[in-house]
Amino acid sequence: MAEAAVIGLAAGIVAGLLGVGGGALFVPALTIFLALSQVDAEATSLLAIIPVALVGAWRQRAHGNADLRAGALLGLLGLGGAAGGAVIANAVPERALEIGFALLIVLVAVQLARRALRAQPRPS
């Protein structure tokens, strides 16, 4: 339980810092430390993401970094995909979800590494 809360805190820091990665930590935290199944961990991760993204968006907006209209439009355009993805997640075997999730977080890792190696330090 305590481990899950600590990883939650870490996931929030990473999400605020890098803009991605909250869910990539929530899901394994929920399966490893709270013994949820893959699909339940994914669903529960999504619930946890809502307040995190809300607060993150609010802070980024305060710093002038969020285009509210574009973000809302993107979200609305993503509704069908989000509902479809959730339906598919419930239709496929757990093992397929685990493998897909593993590949997704490798993709996240590759992108973060490329971004980091390309970027110069950029204090504001």
Binding site: A5, I50, Q60, G78, L79, A109, A119
Partner: protein
Amino acid sequence: MAAIGTAAGLASGLFGVGGGIVIVPLLVLWLGYAEREATGTSLVAIVVIAAVATAVHAAYGNVHVREGLLVGVPAVAGVLLGTELQRRISTRAISLSFAALLVLVAGDLLLDG
């Protein structure tokens, strides 16, 4: 825009992530956003996407509210800290460490699922 939204939505509903991994790079590459603006804009989109994906999963009975709060509430404190830190420090070392951690988690998942 529609392609980015749909891809992010699918990734989100299917894998339980926000979709920032899809949105941030595509906003930068396709629409010429600066990285920080892409991050903030992505978070706005994620609120909407995650809410719908959660609702659909909840209809299947997959959502554990107590466990969600257990990771989500500390994460809210974390994101406040993270957005403040983002303006002060270079995120390079953190990105690389986090990338390494994700590869380890993925390896663990693939090997003994």
